[in-house]
């Protein structure tokens, strides 16, 4: 990482730190939701952007995370333990779900996850003895971390921010490791990756399971943030929303999901003046974006940047050699 990027990163972190100061509760809450959806979208980005698999169950994994956390914290167990269990159960469910689907053709993972998300909704709604059914679970406590209460909105924001930075750090590490590079090899050319000795299925499966675990963490934060969970919050439609976040932001880019989450969460606010038309405008924009820049907003930005940047002319006589 060069110093310029480090500086940018530091500025970004400081901006995240000061962003909520002096703001109303609503802004803090919205920033909080943004961080938490960014975590979930980051996970999906690993599955989708780096390993090239469409998962339609990321909201379902958030649901598993949220319900595990809610049930445990309501039973008086500390959030940390609940979150660890939430994350690991999402990882395991991810493995179980992905294994059969990835045995067959690639797009079957999309079908299986779609079915899984809807089935999960039914279980959450119908098994009310445990999950509270359609009336949901209310009043999850916000945790005390090392004696610090996160009860207030601002404190909880910093709590989420810490989780977010940890999650982003882990993601960064995964992607930089030989392991993560294998993911990209997989996306770029699965056949070549396989011929180079990569275990394509195992790698894809791991990408999916790790991505799901990020969903679990997001759910574990959502439960104490909203202090209410119900099955509808984790339905298929929210999985599609997360998918949109990743792709709109720029799938396969590290900061894509954060940008995408910001767009999806803040856009209703920006387009408020259009009253009921904002979803129409938003969906039309998504279609146009996809047509011009499948790499999402970051891809679009890069395209524009490349266009205006003075180009280094390659020697023409070298071209031939490069293409060898």
């Amino acid at each position: 990482m060069n110093p310029f990027k480090l500086l940018l990163l530091a500025v970004g972190l400081v901006a995240l730190f000061v962003a909520p100061i002096g703001q109303g509760n609503y802004i803090i809450y919205t920033l909080n939701s943004w961080l938490l959806f960014s975590i979930a979208a980051m996970g999906l980005n690993l599955t989708l952007g780096y390993a090239g698999q469409v998962s339609l169950a990321q909201a379902g994994f958030m649901g598993i995370g949220a319900y595990v956390t809610a049930l445990m914290t309501l039973a008086g167990i500390h959030w940390i333990f609940a979150a660890v269990l939430a994350i690991s159960s999402c990882f395991l469910v991810g493995l179980m779900l992905g294994y059969p689907a990835l045995r067959v053709q690639h797009h079957f993972l999309a079908f299986v996850t779609l079915a899984f998300n809807t089935l999960l909704f039914l279980v959450l709604r119908n098994e009310e003895e445990m999950t509270g059914g359609s009336l949901g679970l209310v009043g999850m406590p916000r945790p005390d971390i090392f004696g610090l209460s996160t009860g207030g909105n601002l404190q909880f924001y910093y709590f989420t921010l810490v989780c977010f930075v940890c999650a982003a750090g882990v993601m960064w590490w995964i992607l930089r490791s030989p392991w993560g590079r294998a993911f990209m090899a997989l996306r770029e050319n699965p056949i070549r990756a396989e011929s180079l000795g990569l275990k394509v299925r195992r790698q894809t499966l791991l990408a999916f399971a790790i991505g799901s675990a990020f969903g679990g963490l997001a759910g574990a934060i959502q439960a104490p943030l909203v202090q209410f969970i119900e099955p509808h919050s984790f339905g298929l439609i929210h999985s599609l929303k997360l998918l949109l976040m990743v792709v709109v932001g720029g799938s396969g880019f590290f900061f894509g999901p954060m940008l995408g989450a910001a767009v999806v969460i803040l856009l209703p606010e920006v387009l408020r003046f259009t009253e009921g038309y904002y979803l129409i405008i938003y969906s039309a924009l998504v279609i146009v974006l996809m047509a011009y820049s499948p790499g999402g907003l970051i891809g679009l930005g890069q395209k524009l940047f490349d266009k205006f940047r003075p180009k280094q002319q390659a020697r023409h006589d070298l071209k031939q050699g490069v293409q060898l």
Binding site: G24, N25, Y26, I27, Y29, T30, S33, R125, N126, G133, S134, L135, G136, V138, Q222, V226, Q227, F228, E230, H232, S233, P268, G276, L279
Partner: protein, 375 residues
């Protein structure tokens, strides 16, 4: 420049004064998109029409009311954020939401901030949480159900009943309340049929109800599902009285089900066809303004607006705490406050009581069979 400065100072002064004078802000947090859009739009249009009429008649305490809308997207998490936003924007009272799953969440925010909230939700749990700032705009299902069940047991002589209900937070609340009452009256449940939201094929449910040996079928579904159920019941010639609560015999269902709705009966808290002139006139004005027939949610929203006006003027200020205190145990009559359309009373929990009607659908219209006293 000077004017801007003076203006800014004035605003700052006003903002620092508590309660804020000259600024009457009301927030409508409501389902304008998502699955709740139909109900939410009705409720919101009702609130909007109410405040427009109030403003035309001089406003509240001589001030014009500024109504801001906040779309909850039928998402509890968003609704919570929107209530927070409305409160940050300085509203002194809020209306909405209609879906109980949203209301149970966002009422916590209003409670923390001490802002009275007039909800359109009918789930029993809303007023059972000891929240002193929540008020209903129609009575909860646990108040409506005893009226229906009593009528079914005593007037219709029903001993065995099949219940068809929507397996959502809406249906669940009514289902629980119905089951409790049925137990009290010794009515046996011979078929218990949960259905899906947006279910289209009701043949299996009608068939089970028909073969269950019930004396009557109690139907607790939302509008479209009610209409689809009625049509399937007609097709399979179910041959049993179909009884509902509010939705089954609503104007929308009658329009959608056509003659399949004939003979359906049930209990309604508010109806355009009650023969109460104030309601009929309100419905006519609404139709002229928005070009569609309002349902009970629109009437709830309209009465919410007028309740807010009347109680604010009784208190004499826009002090949120004083308004919440005043609401508890308050009875508003149509003489004092014509906009509430029917006399209404709120108890210590924010629950409301009001007269209501038992109606049957005849020739595409509701006919009132009995007027049921408040309970």
């Amino acid at each position: 420049m000077l004017r801007t400065f003076l203006g800014a100072t004035a605003v700052a002064l006003v903002l620092s004064a508590i309660p804020a004078l000259g600024e009457v802000k009301v927030g409508s947090i409501i389902e304008l998109s998502g699955p709740g859009a139909a109900a939410g739009t009705n409720f919101h249009d009702g609130v909007k029409m109410g405040f427009e009429e109030i403003n035309a008649a001089g406003g509240v305490l001589g001030e014009q009311v500024q109504l801001s809308e906040y779309d909850s997207q039928t998402d509890p998490q968003v609704s919570r954020a929107m209530v927070q936003k409305a409160i940050d924007d300085g509203v002194y009272v809020i209306t909405g939401t209609v879906f109980s799953s949203s209301t149970v969440v966002n009422m916590l925010v209003a409670q923390q901030a001490g802002i009275p909230q007039f909800t359109g939700s009918e789930a029993p749990s809303i007023t059972q949480k000891g929240n002193p700032y929540i008020f209903r705009t129609t009575f909860g299902a646990q108040k409506g159900m005893p009226k229906v069940v009593k009528y079914m047991a005593e007037e219709m002589g029903v001993k065995k009943v099949a219940i068809v209900w929507a397996n959502t937070e809406f249906g669940k609340g009514g289902y629980g309340a119905f089951m409790d009452e049925a137990r009290n009256y010794g009515i046996e449940i011979v078929a218990d049929l949960p259905t899906e939201q947006a279910q289209t094929d009701f043949s299996a449910d009608v068939l089970k109800a028909k073969n269950s040996g019930a004396d009557a079928v109690f139907v607790y579904l939302t509008e479209e599902e009610s209409a689809r159920f009625l049509r399937e019941a007609q097709k399979q010639s179910i041959g049993l009285p179909l009884v509902g609560e509010t939705t089954l015999i609503g104007a929308k269902v009658i329009q959608l089900a056509g003659d399949a709705a004939s003979g359906a009966m049930g209990h309604v808290g508010l109806t355009a066809d009650a023969g109460i002139p104030a309601i009929t006139e309100m419905v006519d004005r609404f139709k002229a303004k928005y070009n569609y027939t309002p349902d009970h949610n629109a009437i709830k929203g309209y009465t919410a607006a007028w309740t807010i006006k009347c109680v604010t003027e009784m208190v004499g200020s826009t002090d949120s705490q004083a308004i919440a205190d005043k609401m508890h145990g308050l009875t508003l009559t149509t003489d004092e406050c014509p906009g509430v359309l029917m006399d209404a009373t709120w108890d210590e929990t924010g629950e409301m009581s009001r007269e209501s009607f038992f109606v049957e659908v005849e020739n595409g219209k509701q006919t009132v069979k009995a007027i049921l006293p408040p309970n």
